[in-house]
Every structure is written in C-alpha cells, then in structure tokens.
C-alpha cells in the first residue's frame, strides 16, 4: 500500500460511496448557506426565510428516503462511510428519515406559531438545521470523535435555541443553564472518551469492540486487574454525556428548567428530535460495544437466518427461534461458550441502563405531580418517557448476550416505534401549548380550565394526546409500551423483570398527572376573566394532523412497525 492507492481509494470512497448516502445532511448544509446568503443578496431577501427553510427541509426529506423506496429498510446493507467515521445502515436510514420528517413538521410549526418571523427566521432555521445535522451524525456515528462531534453539534445550537426569545429573562436563564450544564456533561464525556480510546487504542467502534474481545475481560476480572475498573470508569463517564442528552436521572437537572424557560416550540424540538437522536446514539454505543459482527470472525451462520426464519414463520414464538439459533451456535462450537469475552461488558451495560432507566422513569413520573406550568410538567413527562425508551436498549443488550439477535432487533424496533409515536404525541402537545400561549398568554395548567367550552376541538385533541402518552390501549401510545414490556420480559433476567414490573407500575403512576390536565380542560369550570381562544384554520389543522395519527395508528399499527423492524434488523447483520 502506498500513498497513491491510499488517495485513490479515499477519493472513490468519498465521492462514490459516502456523499450519496450523506444527501440529507448536504441539503441541510446548503439550506443553511442559502439562508445566510438571504441576508446579503437583495433578491433572496424578498423570499421569506420560512419558504427557504421549508423547501430545504422537504428536499432533505426526499433525499432521506432510501434509494429503493420506503419499504426497503430491510435491504440496506450496513456499510461504513467517510473511511469509517460514520456508518450507514437501516437504523441510520430510519432515523434520518425520522429527523427530516420532524424538521419539515417543525418548520411548519414554527411558521404557524410565529416564532420565526421575517427578521430572525434565517438565524432560527439555521440553528434548527445545524442541530439537525448534529443529530444525524449522532445516529450514524461509528467513531468516538463523530460521537462527540455529533453531541456537540446537536447541543450547541440548541443552547441558542433555548434562548431564542432574547428579551425574556427566563429564556436567557434557561439558555445559560443549558449551556453550562451541557458543557460540563460534555467535559465529563470527553474525559471518558479519552480513557476509553486510550485503553483500547482506537476510536473506531468496530475496532474497539475487537480490542475489547482481545482484552480478555473475564481473565482480567478473575485476576482483579485494576484496568477493568478504569474501563468501567470510562464507560460511566461516557454514559454521563449520553445521560445528559437523554435527560436521565441524575443528569436531568437541566431538563425542567430549560423546558420551562425556552419557548414551547423549542421544547418540542428538544423533547422529540434530540431525545430520538440521543436514543439512537445510545443504541449505537450500547450495541456497538457489546455485539461483535459475525462477519469479522469465522462463525458460519450469520444471525440473519434467525430473522429469516422468523419472517417466514411469524407464528413461531420467539423462544423457539432463539432456541434454534442457540443450538446452531453450539453445533458450530464457540470455544468460549461458558463466558464470552464481551459478557462482562454486557452485564455492565445492562445493569447501568436498566437501573438508570427505571429510576429515570419513576422519578420523572413522580416529580411531574405537583407541577403548575404545563411545559414543566411535560418536561418531567419527557424524562419519564426517556427512561421508558431506554429500557429496550438494556433488553436488547441482554438478548444479544443470550444469542437471541432476532429478539434483540425486535427490542430496538420497539424503541424506534416508540420514538416515532412520541413524535406525534409530543410535537402535538407542544404545538397546542404554543398556540394556547399565543392565544391566552399563559402556560399555567390552571388557565386551561374549561378549555372544552372555549375550543372543544383543541381540548379533545389534547386529551387524546395525553391519554396516548399514558399508554391507554386504543391509542397509539399503547403499542410501543406493550412492545417494550415484551422485550424486557423476553430478556428474562431478574433485573429486567424488576424493570418490567416497575415500568408497568409507572404507567399507572403517570396516569395521575396527565389525567389532571385532561380533567382541568374537560371538567373544571372556566375561571373568570380568561381570554377567549381563537385559533386559525391552519393551526387547528396542524393540531389535528398531530392528533389524528395518534388515533389512527392505534387502529392500524402495522406499517410503521414493519419499517422499524426491517430497519432494526440491519443492526445485527
């Protein structure tokens, strides 16, 4: 190998392979540049920024559709792009599509609520798109640097977004808290990253997992080497950064303050897109560090055959399929069958995520009880949902350890489905809050009393969304919760059983505060002196466009679920 071949391969890799798969982000970059030029060029200045942003977002959405169409997530081969910096597989494709769809909806919402006016629109949309690019990098990161870069790129514009309403004291306070807290968490994460990279001698995920296998953890643990402790410390410190993005307890402190201080639209952005990207990154790290791709070693049967079996015989219980697979494995004889080299990593990750998730979920639900500000309440609800969405990751890692990759990919699919449903529920909720704020100048829960009389459509839509957030069956929010519980049950370890029971109990806990809002709106009498609510046609249409999928998906949960399954199966190719 010489320099010439190196550069040749670099050029072909970049131009032919990587850039086409990086289309949506490129479109967003271009949109940012156009938005910036709009300030300068008089011709472009006449076009409202929202139009440019909308066109850019839609173009990015179109670019994010996989090449063979929406139904082809399953066919996407996992491949590294940009010489190993990023990875493109079903998960990446799905989350990119998700983020771009969200960007389109968010541009519309921002226009409808009037937060992005003609003067500031360019800045606002540049920041939104910049953060979205960062999230795309998070979901596709394959390298410690891209992981950190993605987190930074998603976070730093968000700090500004939190303070986008410049003249408001609370807004600037939220931005400051967010920025400082975020920087602190990023520092800890960076330190952990450096330890991890130093111990394993690489920053490239697949290489790192290979080194972990060589590391021979079981022997080192048996020898009580302190290196293992350093590894655990590194893992924990990286986890701190992820927990910050996920607003997982005990690194959630920023979340309620920022949600309350920032405008509702930004709250929607943070609670949906940012959380989804953080969860995808968690999946990347957790699965990436605990699952060794069978292509790298000699073991013949790729786990794909499990998925294949399952697709051809969907009626078979998971156990049966998994059983078959485990017998297959035994026949091909893994020498380290008693304890694989990655088992300690898995149990560490499962324990960490399992405990944090259940604490987060319970904490969020309980702390939401006494809130008076609806955004703050939804912030705690977001914390609780983030906890819920972390659970399938723990289950998936545990299932990987048992060799049940098909079930593990189901668990990841459950998470993806959850995130998708959550998009509609939470974006809808925050849209309603933003419209209500414009209309009645208040975000206190008590001012929503008697909304059913003033604006029945909105009240009903909000109630539907709230009930869906609880996870009541006929509504969409129920299915992902059910599937998360299933994933936990299948993982079949005492800790995850406990997590499952506690998660089920949490659905009952969460009912209380959601129901309180629903009751305030639908049952309580209107307080005297509240302002009338007047919503435009487009605003109402937007709210309905968010609430209707919540109802309809509850009746036909098939399609999106199939996409998520196909997309998730690519993780274990």
């Amino acid at each position: 190998m010489n320099l010439h071949t190196l550069i040749d391969s670099l050029i072909s890799d970049t131009l032919q392979k990587s850039l086409p798969l990086f289309g949506p982000e490129l479109v967003l970059c271009a949109t940012i540049v156009v938005l910036l030029l709009a300030r300068v060029l008089p011709l472009l200045d006449r076009i409202p920024p929202v139009v440019i942003a909308f066109v850019g977002a839609v173009a990015a959405l179109i670019a994010a559709v996989p090449q063979e169409g929406l139904a082809s997530f399953g066919g996407i081969q996992s491949q590294e792009i940009f010489t190993g910096m990023l990875v493109y597989d079903g998960l990446t494709a799905y989350f990119k599509l998700f983020l771009m769809a969200f960007a389109v909806l968010f541009v519309i919402l921002s226009h409808l609520t009037g937060i992005a006016d003609r003067d500031d629109g360019q800045d606002y949309f540049s920041l939104v798109f910049g953060a979205t690019i960062g999230m795309c990098i998070m979901v596709s990161s394959n390298h410690l640097l891209t992981m950190f870069l993605g987190v930074e790129m998603a976070s730093v514009p968000s700090y500004v977004l939190a303070g986008i309403v410049k003249g408001r004291r609370r807004s600037s306070e939220a931005a400051l808290k967010y920025a400082v807290y975020g920087a602190g968490a990023a520092g800890v994460m960076l330190y952990g990253t450096s330890l991890l990279a130093g111990l394993l001698g690489s920053a490239h995920f697949p290489t790192m997992v290979g080194r972990l296998v060589e590391f021979d953890l079981p022997t080192r643990i048996a020898d009580r080497e302190l290196t293992v402790m350093v590894l655990a410390l590194a893992g924990l410190m990286v986890g701190v950064g992820l927990a910050f993005k996920l607003s997982a307890v005990p690194f959630h402190f920023w979340c309620p303050d920022v949600f309350e201080g920032a405008s509702a639209e930004v709250g929607g952005f943070l609670s949906v897109a940012s959380k989804a990207a953080a969860l995808a990154l968690l999946v990347r790290v957790a699965i990436g560090m605990t699952y060794e791709h069978p292509t790298s070693d000699k073991l013949g049967s790729p786990p794909r055959d499990v998925a294949a079996i399952q697709q051809s015989h969907p009626e078979l219980p998971v156990q049966f399929v998994a059983q078959q697979r485990s017998t297959d494995d035994e026949s091909t004889s893994d020498p380290a069958a008693e304890e694989g080299p990655l088992d300690p990593v898995r149990s560490f990750v499962v324990t960490l995520i399992g405990i944090v998730s259940i604490v987060t979920c319970t904490f969020g639900n309980l702390a939401a009880y006494g809130q008076r500000n609806i955004k703050r309440m939804l912030a705690y609800s977001t914390i609780a949902h983030a906890g819920f969405m972390m659970m399938p990751v723990a289950a998936a890692v545990a299932l990987v350890g048992m060799g049940k990759t098909a079930a593990a990919s189901e668990a990841i699919a459950a998470l993806m489905l959850y995130a998708t449903i959550y998009l509609f529920m939470n974006l809808g909720a925050f849209a309603i809050i933003a419209f209500m704020r414009n209309s009645m100048q208040s975000e206190e829960i008590k001012d929503y009393s008697g909304l059913i009389g003033r604006s029945p459509l909105i009240a009903v839509a909000f109630t539907v969304i709230l009930f869906s957030l609880v996870g009541l069956p006929p509504l969409a929010g129920f299915w992902p919760k059910l599937r998360v519980l299933q994933a936990l049950f299948e993982a079949n370890s005492p800790l995850l059983m406990f997590v499952m029971v506690a998660a089920a109990a949490n659905t009952a806990l969460s009912l209380v505060y959601y129901l309180r809002v629903a009751k305030t709106m639908c049952i309580d009498r209107e307080a005297d002196g509240t302002r009338p609510v007047a919503l435009g046609f487009l605003q109402t249409a937007f709210v309905l466009a968010m609430a209707l999928p919540v109802v309809l998906y509850g009746l036909d949960p098939e399609r999106i679920a199939r996409w998520t399954q196909q997309a998730a199966s690519g993780l274990f190719q």
Partner: protein
C-alpha cells in the same frame, strides 16, 4: 339465509356488537340535532341495543341451539368421553372428534339421566354415586365447540400478532343475550329516568354555584352516547378472540365508566368518584399487563382458540398437529389428557438444558408452574380491579355517583361482570394455586362487603356492596372449581341485580333522596316498584323450596355455589371449611341486608312525610322494564330452560375434572359434578335455606315487627358498627398507605429537584457554618478587623445559604454532575467488590 354456525355466528354477533358503536358515532356527531334537545338520540340508542338483542337471540335460538345439542345430563357424559379418550390418546383431531362426542355420546349413553336440578329432587339413583368414585381418576374434558377466527389483522410485530377476532362458544352467545337484554331494559328505563336532562337548562340541585343551583344545558344525548359506547366495549370483551383485544376493550370499558360515573361532573363527588374508578382500575390492569406478557412470552400467542378454516374446522399441519394452537390448546394438550401441564416454552431454558434439574423438577412436576401462577394471578389482578374485588373494591360504592341506570348496567351486566367473565374465559390457564388465590380473594370480598352493606343507609350503596359481595361469591365459586356455578350465578345475578337497581332508581326518582332513613311505607304509593323489588330481593337471597326444583333464580345458582364449596371443603378438609362457612354466613347476611332494605323502604310508617306525600309510581317506560326483568329474575334459572346445560356446553377444556396442586401439594380442586352428589346437595340445600331464612327473619324482627330497636343494637355494638360504617376504613387506609406516600414522595422529589439534595447537604452546610463561625470568631473579629455588625451579616448569609438550597442553582447542578459521576463509580466499585469477594 345461511345458518351454518361457522359462518352465521360471527356475522350475527359482529352486527350485534357494532350496532351500539354505530349509534355512538351517530350521536357523537349529530346527537344534539336529533329531535328537541337530542331526544331522538335516546330512541336511536334504544333501537340499536334492542336490535343487537334481537340479533343475539337469532344467534342463540336460530343458529346455536339447533346446531348444538344440549347435554341432557352431565354425569355419565364425562365418564364416557373420558374413557374413550383414554383409549385413543393419539387422536390429534381432538377438537372435532371430541366435539362430535360431546354431542353424540350423552345422547346414547346417558339419555336416561336427568338435568342437575332434577337431581335436587332426589331423582338421582345410586349409579351416580358409584360413578363418582370411578370418575376420580379419569382424564379431563376436551375443548368445547367453538368458532374462532379473525376479522381484521392489526399488525404483526415479529412473533407478536395483533388481531381483532372472535371466539364464539356457548358462553359467548349466552353472554351476548344477557348483556343486550339487560342493556335494552336499562336503555328503555333511562329514557324515563333521564327525562330531566331534556329540560334546557337543567337544574342540578346538588351543585351550588354562586349561591344558586347550577343551571346547565341538558345532556340527554350525551348520556345515550356514552351508554352505547359502553355496551359496545362490553360486547367487545365478550366476543374478543385474543387477550390483546380483551385488554383494549377492557380499557375502553374503563374509560366509558369514567365518563358515565362522572356524568354529573359538576358535582365534586362525581368527578372524584370517576377518577377513583379509573385509577383503581389501572392498578389492576398493570397486573393484567404482566400476566399478558408472561403468557405471550412463553406461548407466543394471544389467541384463545386454534386457527380454524372457513367451515370452523381446526387447521392442521401435514403432520397432524394443530397449525396455530391458541393459549388453551398449548396449556392443555390432548397428549396430556387435557390436564394443565406447562409447555416446554414455560420452563426456563437452563432448566430444560440441564438434565439433572429437569429430572428433579419433572419428579416434582413443578417446572414452569411458577410462571403459570404468575400469569394466572396477573390476569386475575385485572379482574380484581374490574370486578371490584378486595383490595380494589373501593371504587365500586363510590361509582354510585353516576345516574342510576348506569349503576344498574355497571353492576349487573357490564364492567363488573367483565372481570368474572374473564376469569371464566381464562379458566384453563389457572393452575390450582391461582384458583386458590381467586377463592381467597373472593371469600374475603364477599364477607367484607356483606358486613359493610349491613350498616349502609344509602339505598344504592347497600346494593353496591351487595354487588361486591355477590361478585365475591362468583369468584369464590370459580376459585373452588365451580366454573358452571360461578358463571351461572353471574347470569342470574345480572338479572336480579339490574332489577334491584332499577327499582331503587324508581324509588329515588319518586322521593328524590338516596337515604333509606327518610323512606318507609312506600309500598302503597308505588306498588309495582315495591313488588318487583321484593322479587329481586327474594331472588338474590336464593329463596326457594328446599330440595325441590321450585324457587327464584338465585336459589339455583347460589345453591350450586354452596354445593361446590361443600364439595371442596369435603375434599380438602381442614381450613378449607372456612370457605364454606363464609359462603353460608354470607348468604345469611345477604338475606338480612336485602330485607332490611326492603322493609325500611316499603313497609312501616313513612319517616319523612313531605317526601312520602310527593312520592308517586314511576311512568310506564320505567316500570315496564322492571316487570320484564322481574319475570327473568324469577324464571331464568329454572331447570326447564336448561341454562346450565348451555353453560356446560362451554365448559373450558380440561376443567370439568378439577385438578390438584403442584406447588401446594395437598390442594385438590374437586371436579364440579362431584358437587351434585346427593349427600352434599341435601346438606348444602338445607344450609343455604336455613341461613337465608335466619337472615330474613332477623331483618323482619328488627325492621318489620320492630321487636328490637336498631338504634340500641347500634349502641351495643358501637365499635363494630363504626368500623363497618366506615367501610373497614379502607379508603382511609389507602389514603394513608398509597395516596399520602405517593404525594409525599412526589413532593419530596420536587423539593429534591429544587436543590435540596437531602439532609446530607444540610448537615454539610451546618457543619461548614459552624466552622466558619468559629473561624470568624477567632480570626475575623480579632485579627482582620472589627466588622460592622457581624451578627447581621451572619443572619444575612445564613438566609442566603438556606435560600440557595431551595433554588434551581446552576452551580449546584454542575456539582451534581461531578457528584453523580462519582457516586455512580462508587456504587459500581462497591457492587463489584461485593460480588468479587
């Protein structure tokens, strides 16, 4: 018209199921414009539910009964088919092979036997007694005839298939007829009862706003809208072909009950009661979710039945196995003689793979039973919530805040019935230990509720507690192995309890109060109500001529429960006699409080003359349903109508023979037919009769003839009375145990988030304060300079210090990042250290 059951039944019942939904949708959108004040909405809903009833009747009488011969007697039947089955255990096409047996064998072999209730009249011969001894050992019954299929597939997530489907057997059809009939009566009755809502504005006398009664628009159409949705949801549970669908409609029923109980939501008590009902039900549902997961994860399906083709035949694979076995066929396979044996997927993998453990477990037969128990108890948790069993019974009496027709519906045919129905439906999946749990819960519930009912003075609350108590009876019967007895009582109870509620509604409508202490002597003013209610009371206490097949409906069903309890106690002995004792004592209490209610309301001198003078008989539209229901309350259980025969057709697979415990080894659930042995029948019948008689007599002594003054009795037993009057302090207990701690924790956590880490930081702060005080005193004052007003500064600093702990301080957040990281590491190292050493 094609009346083949496999094609006609799903269509007919689907139509009956969807009609209320259609009515709901129409009223939802155009309800207000249907006639003056939405009056026609009521007629629309009535039309829908009556049509649903007619369709159910067609399904029952034109399709089911002509095509499925009722078993004439059930004694020898099990014997025969069991023997046949033992002879041919490899028969894979068990369902239809044995379904044919079910129809043919009794005709040939046992045509000379009589129905169980004729046995009560000692027409039984000795051969039966001999038969029992033989039957002890033989195999259980095969699956009943059923039709199973999917209408619509919601989606498939890997192995998880979610569909909207049906599972129709004799029980389904029976429940459909019962639910639609009672719902029709309630609908018609509500046309009269809710008449006030047609006025615009409606005056709610119980809500005072700004010193005036509340005036609001009438909500006549809303009421019927919810009522229709409610019926739709309940019928959905009944027809559901899989657990997931049951759960969906289960929650829908919960939401409807939320709306209906909170119908007068301006009344604070009503909206609180609605919340309470909803939340308490959710607590139960969480158990149900776990049970569902346990079943799904181990069996891989939610479906009740096996996959069938268009003709209603089970689809088989080429090797002859069932293509897509449902829950029941997996748990009770033909190979195992339909006994409950946990399938391999329920046994932990390591156990399966380790021959030593497996052999040990197989020897004990325990493998997988714990999972079965978890699944069973989990599912039962849901039923506990819905059927208001101890300890989740607290919502039901409060649910009286809803309009009376709702109470009648909720308490008889829907909602609470759903829990019992589900236990019945899931019966094959309950292991004997789970059944024991059910029996214990049922037993506690029945006695607890009965004692509370004795002291209640609100007429509807008495009935509410009586419902809870009767539900306890049903659970007890089911838990003791009396499947038919439990569901039999469910159906008879539905009729007389709806009758009783509607009568009480009629009384309330007349005197505008719920308080029995303000009633009395109403018999003369409203005779139809009084006598139909008397029929209801007699039915609920199980009045009948002992040892003959003459009596009210409750007589038959309650006797069969007590017989089952007797049979169970006789088999197991020891403490299990307590079940029987509680059942008998409960019967006595039932009689006492029901007649106390009737005497206080209808006999004697009027206690409140103002109210008495204004009382009047209710309009025809309300009394009509009363009379109709009264007729059913009398006659529905008569042996001539063969209701038990119908239920017996639906006897779930393998449950007729009882079973014996694995985890609790000496627990035996006796076969149900054993309870019809003459010696048990005789003693149980006499016990039931005498206990009921004592109860009625006691009530008459106190409240009719006035030999004893109830006030003096109260005084004598004041502590007990107070306890009962306060409903055993359950509300207070829950308030103390759950609500306060939950609120407390919520507040604490909110406070925590505000920046109070906990006492630790406070302690730190105090220590630091102390240090700096010393430091200050020693150095600052003496060495640095004479600060002005040090003490004032201290106070100021101290205030800031305390305040800072109460704020969302950014710097503390950063500190928490550091400490969080550090504590996580510490926890991990500590755990690792503990695990290693």
């Amino acid at each position: 018209m094609d009346l083949t059951p496999a094609t006609a039944l799903p269509k007919l019942l689907a139509a009956a199921w969807l009609l209320p939904l259609a009515s709901f949708v129409v009223i939802l959108f155009v309800g207000k414009r249907l006639g003056p004040h939405g009056k026609w909405a009521g007629y629309l809903a009535v039309g829908a539910i009556v049509s649903a009833f007619l369709l159910s009747c067609v399904a029952m009488f034109a399709v089911w009964l002509p095509n499925h011969e009722l078993p004439v007697a059930h004694h020898g039947e099990h014997h025969d088919e069991g023997d046949q089955h033992d002879g041919a255990p490899a028969d894979d096409d068990h369902q239809h092979g044995t379904a044919a047996l079910l129809q043919d064998a009794p005709l040939t072999a046992c045509a000379d036997h009589d129905s169980p209730f004729q046995l009560a009249a000692f027409q039984e011969n000795e051969a039966h007694a001999d038969g029992h001894a033989v039957e002890e050992g033989h195999a259980a019954n095969p699956p009943p005839t059923y039709y199973f299929g999917d209408w619509y597939s919601l989606g498939q997530f890997g192995a998880l298939k979610l569909t909207i489907g049906y599972y129709i057997d004799a029980l389904t059809v029976t429940m459909f007829c019962m639910v639609t009939l009672i719902a029709s009566c309630v609908h018609i009755y509500a046309l009269g009862y809710m008449h006030d809502e047609l006025h615009d504005p409606y005056h709610d006398h119980e809500v005072i706003v700004h010193g005036h009664h509340l005036h609001r628009p009438g909500r006549f159409h809303r009421f019927f809208q919810y009522l229709s949705l409610f019926c739709f949801s309940m019928l959905g549970i009944v027809i559901a072909g899989n657990v997931a669908m049951v759960f969906v409609f289960w929650e829908l029923v919960g939401i409807c009950s939320y709306f209906l109980i909170g119908f007068y939501f301006e009344r604070h008590s009503a909206s609180t009661a609605a919340n309470k009902a909803f939340i308490v039900n959710r607590v139960g549902d969480f158990g149900m979710l776990i049970g569902m997961m346990a079943l799904w994860a181990s069996l891989g399906t939610f479906a009740f039945g096996d996959k069938q083709d268009a003709k209603g035949q089970t689809v088989l694979t080429e090797s002859g196995a069932i293509a897509e076995p449902g829950i029941f066929s997996q748990l009770r396979t033909a190979e195992n003689g339909y006994r409950l044996v946990p399938p391999a997927s329920m046994i932990a993998e390591e156990t399966r793979n380790d021959p030593a453990i497996e052999a040990e477990d197989a020897a004990a037969g325990k493998a997988g039973h714990w999972l079965l128990l978890v699944a069973g108890v989990g599912i039962f948790c849901g039923c506990v919530g819905k059927s208001a069993q101890f300890p989740l019974h607290v919502w039901l009496p409060d649910a009286m805040e809803g309009p009376t027709p709702v109470s009648a519906l909720v308490h008889s045919a829907t909602m609470v019935a759903a829990g019992v129905y589900l236990v019945g439906r899931f019966y094959p999946a309950f292991c004997p230990e789970a059944l024991l749990v059910i029996a214990i819960i049922g037993c506690i519930t029945l006695s607890l509720a009965a004692t509370i009912a004795i002291t209640a003075t609100d007429i509807k609350r008495v009935l509410a507690y009586s419902t809870v108590s009767q539900l306890g009876y049903m659970m007890l019967a089911l838990g003791l192995g009396g499947w038919i007895a439990g569901l039999f009582h469910l159906i008879t109870h539905a009729f007389f309890k709806s009758l009783l509620f509607m009568c009480s509604g009629s009384v309330i409508h007349a005197v505008h109060t719920n308080d029995m202490t303000e009633m009395g002597g109403l018999r003369k003013k409203m005779p139809i109500t009084a006598y139909t209610m008397l029929i209801g009371c007699l039915a609920i206490i199980g009045a009948g001529v002992p040892l003959t097949p003459i009596g009210f409906s409750g007589y038959f069903s309650k006797d069969s429960i007590i017989e089952q309890a007797w049979s169970h106690a006789q088999t197991n002995g020891g403490v299990y006699w307590a079940f029987l004792a509680m059942a008998v004592i409960g019967a006595s209490m039932t009689a006492f409080y029901m007649f106390r209610l009737w005497f206080m309301t209808f006999t004697g001198a009027p206690r409140d003359h103002h109210k008495y003078d204004h009382a009047h008989e209710s309009p025809r539209v309300m009394t009509g349903p009363l009379v109709l229901l009264a007729i059913f309350a009398i006659a529905v259980a008569w042996p001539a109508f063969r209701l038990t025969g119908l239920l017996e057709q639906a006897q779930p697979v393998g449950t007729a023979a009882g079973g014996s415990g694995v985890l609790i080894e000496d627990l035996v659930v006796p076969a149900e037919h054993l309870s019809h042995a003459p010696n048990i029948k005789l003693r149980a019948g006499l016990a039931a009769f005498s206990s009921a008689f004592i109860g009625v007599f006691g009530a008459a002594v106190v409240y009719l003839w006035g030999y004893l003054n109830p006030r003096e009795i109260k005084q004598t037993f004041k502590p007990i009375y107070t306890l009962l009057w306060n409903k055993w302090y359950f509300d207070q207990l829950y308030n103390f145990l759950f609500i306060q701690p939950a609120l407390f924790i919520g507040r604490q956590i909110a406070a925590f988030d505000r920046g109070v880490i906990d006492w630790f930081l406070h302690a730190c702060a105090w220590t630091v304060r102390l240090f700096s005080m010393v430091f200050d005193v020693v150095f600052d004052r003496t060495l640095v300079d004479g600060t002005v007003n040090t003490a004032a500064n201290w106070t100021w600093d101290f205030g800031l210090l305390l305040r800072r702990f109460q704020t969302g301080s950014l710097r503390q957040y950063v500190l928490f990042i550091v400490m969080g990281t550090w504590f996580m590491c510490l926890a991990y190292f500590a755990a690792a250290f503990v695990l290693m050493s």
